[in-house]
Amino acid sequence: MLPCSVINDTAVKTNKVYLLFLALGALWACENMAYDVSGGVDSEITLFSDQVSLPIADIGPLTPKQLLGDDSDILDGLSDYVTEDEDGYLVVENNGASEEQYVVMLAYTLSNPLIPNDVSFADFSGTMEDKASVLNTFGFSLSPQLFTLTAANPLTEDIAVSGKMSLLSLADADNPSETLLSQEFTKVTVPSGSKEAEIFHIERSDWRPLSGYKLENLFLHLPASILEKDPASGFGSFSFAYHYKSYLSLGSDFPLSIPAEIKDLNLQLAQYRVKEAKICTEVSNEIPITLVLDSVDVYVDEADADGNVSTVKTDKVSVTPGLTISAGCTSNPKISPLEIIIKADDGTTIPDISALTLNLSIKAPVGVADPRIGLNQRLYFNNLRATVSGGITIQSL
């Protein structure tokens, strides 16, 4: 029975006290001490416990020159053997010129300078510095090779030249030097006043490296009265020159695995307690080199009992090996999907990472239309994105 102030004094007293305590008791009883926030709430949170994916960036264009840097040891080492041409390709070049034949001297040897004459010119031959052997030990090939013969004509009228061009290959352990080409050319016009008129040119990708050249049976087919018509040209001279240029390409796999060290990385990941991270991208590659990431060594800082900190390799974190960036070529890049998974051992999380060593293999391109290696060839990391599985822990928002 509920309290009623006038019905019964005794009952009122009893019931009102009962009601008061019931009310107060009910209020206290409603307080669940398990939820007492007066001691604070742990603000640590773990976000995205299943997984979170995030687009990161499109990175590029990157070029070998940018990647290697101006002070690159690799470029320094190569500079003794190769140069960069105007388009950025790595090339081996060689130039040479014949002796000059002055017009006035030549004119005086003519029995009858008033008529056209065919004048013999001294043979012109030589050898080229052997750079291919050294480059070949690193898997580089000289391909394609270009050989160009030019002539200078100081006269004010055209002349013609004839001769025989021979090109010799470099001897190697399996093959002696041999003549790769022996070709005659007949009455090729050299325009008047030209200094480097091309009279012979050949480009071959299937040749062994050239070691020498020989220009024989050279004849200048001179017009009549060369001095009479243009006395001033007597001070000029006839000459021949060659330009040898070979592009660098990777003909066979690079024999060594190249460790690319990324030091002082100092990735403070431990605090986030990440178990697994996946990084995906599509690599667009114009560089005619296939790059394989064989393995990744992960280094962490560890302190010994005396508190001395050293950087040591850890096997508690694995990185997916066997990633391949396929070779492409200029203006025809090859797209390679790339997926790198960084995973901590079961029951652990990824620690702070001090340094990484990327163990890379460089392999020869397969099926690439243009194997020439250039320092301006472009590499893009498109659609770079990351997926973190197992959550990201932070101490508070």
């Binding site: 509920l2 309290p3 009623c4 102030s5 006038v6 019905i7 009122v12 007293k13 009102k16 006290v17 009601l19 008061l20 019931l22 009310a23 107060l24 009910a26 009883a29 409603c30 307080e31 669940n32 001490m33 398990a34 939820y35 007492d36 926030v37 007066s38 001691g39 604070g40 709430v41 742990d42 603000s43 640590e44 949170i45 773990t46 976000l47 995205f48 416990s49 299943d50 997984q51 979170v52 994916s53 995030l54 687009p55 990161i56 960036a57 499109d58 990175i59 590029g60 264009p61 990157l62 940018q66 990647l67 307690r273 995906c280 659609n383 770079l384 994105r385 997926t387 959550g391 822990t393």
Partner: protein, 436 residues
């Protein structure tokens, strides 16, 4: 006297709800004139409680985002739309008198309400990650309104068993703010994040005007004008209607619909956030730009693009007609024929909001009524918030009547905070009536 004071205190502390609902019915009028001053009713309704966000773990409390709380445990305790609503109804003064045919009331009061709705998807995104994309966040809303009421009510009998009543209220808008999201969808894939947003923010300005930045976005750090009270910023009408039917001896059916109407607000500080933002990562990042400064600049650029969609672009002030929270009440009461001071009651309530999840409940109870002395009612039932109980009562003293009511759930509260741990309906009403 001391006993009486104790009784009053007990009722004031523990009293509960149905009575407060009854006096809202304009057809329910006493058989005496009255003057009521300073009545207060505060209702707080939440469809999830603190226990959905806080979890005991060992000797400490952690949030639902802590690794020790599973996704099922955290997200399972949330509703698709998680709402909090609070309404303060303050009756400054009301006066009632008997006319020749009916009963008249005039009333002046003020109302203040606010609410917040947060979609579960936000917590799902934070807890589990981006795999469940897309996320529909359109139910993210917030509002607050303060308005005055001037009401006139009239009730009269129709026949022997029926009494009808109505109350017309002039609503004077004082201040209003809301964030109304029409469309907010977040799509998260590995390749891109896309935010599709269409939302309005509305603030009444009174004498203060929010400034704009150089690009026309609302700048909340820039104000012009003084903060003094100015002219009303909205006006509206609302009506309460009710009926009391006593078809036979001892049985009473009371039904009412309250706050049918709305306010036409003028929002002098209004903005619209609209557009689609897509983030596909930082673009064209070259090696030259892979330093902290350049990356920061790129990130800022992306952030600015996002802000261009999210930040409200100032628009000319706009009018908006907004309904006020309405409620429908039904109470059936039957006085026991063998002891007519004791009644059994059935009480139902429905409250609908413009922004929050609707609330309803049904309770059964008993009430004891001793004419001239007091009344005490107890009820219990369930609804949107689960189990709910109510205690209500009044005591008559000379020409005064002090009433109080209290409704609550049983989920408990955070110690010393009184924040409910579970979904809850908590209504506290206090008032003093002077009988004329």
């Amino acid at each position: 006297m001391k006993k009486l004071a104790l009784g009053i205190m007990a009722l004031a502390i523990a009293a509960s709800g149905a009575w407060a609902q009854e006096i809202g019915n304009p057809a329910e009028t006493p058989d005496y004139g009255f003057l009521r001053v300073g009545e207060l009713q505060n209702a707080t309704r939440n469809n999830v409680g603190a226990a959905s966000f806080l979890f005991p773990s060992g000797d400490k409390l952690v949030t639902g985002l802590h690794s020790s709380v599973s996704a099922d445990e955290f997200l399972g305790g949330l509703k698709p739309v998680n709402s909090l609503y609070s309404d303060l109804n303050y009756n400054l003064v009301s006066y009632g008198w008997k006319g020749s045919a009916g009963f008249h009331t005039v009333q002046v009061g003020a109302r203040a309400n606010y609410g917040l709705s947060v979609p579960k998807e936000i917590f799902q995104l934070l807890k589990t990650g981006t795999a469940q994309s897309p996320y529909d966040l359109s139910s993210l809303k917030a509002f607050g309104n303060v308005y005055g009421e001037i009401a006139y009510g009239y009730s009269r009998p129709v026949g022997d068993n029926l009494r009808v009543g109505a109350r017309v209220k002039l609503l004077i808008g004082l201040n209003s703010a809301d964030v109304a999201v029409r469309r907010m969808e977040l799509t998260t894939t590995e390749e891109q994040y896309t935010l599709d947003l269409d939302a309005d923010i509305n603030l009444t300005n009174r004498d203060k005007k929010v400034g704009t930045d150089g690009e026309g976005y609302l700048d909340y750090k820039s104000f012009t004008g003084k903060g003094k009270l100015g002219l009303p910023t909205g006006a509206g009408l609302a009506a309460d209607i009710g009926v009391v039917w006593k078809p036979f001896e001892g049985f009473t059916l009371s039904a009412s619909a309250l706050d049918l109407g709305g306010i036409l607000w003028y929002y002098g500080n209004a903005g619209t956030s609209s557009g689609t933002y897509t983030f596909e990562g930082l673009k064209d990042l070259s090696t030259d730009e892979m330093d902290e400064e350049s990356m920061g600049a790129k990130l800022k650029e992306a952030g600015d693009e996002l802000l261009a969609v999210v930040k409200p672009k100032a628009v000319e002030g706009r009018f908006s007609l907004k309904a006020i929270p309405l409620s429908a009440n039904l109470k059936a009461s039957y006085a026991l024929p063998f002891f007519d001071m004791l009644s059994v009651d059935l009480i139902s309530l429905y409250t609908g909001y413009s922004f929050c999840v609707p609330y309803w409940e049904t309770r059964g109870g008993v009430s004891f009524d001793y004419p001239g002395i007091g009344h005490l009612g107890l009820s219990a039932g369930g609804g949107t918030s689960g189990f709910v109980y109510g205690v209500n009562g009044f005591v008559d003293f000379l020409s005064f009547r002090l009433y109080a009511s209290y409704e609550n759930g049983i989920g408990g509260v955070i110690p010393y905070e009184s924040t409910p741990l579970k979904a809850n309906n908590q209504v506290l009403s206090l008032g003093l009536i002077y009988k004329l």
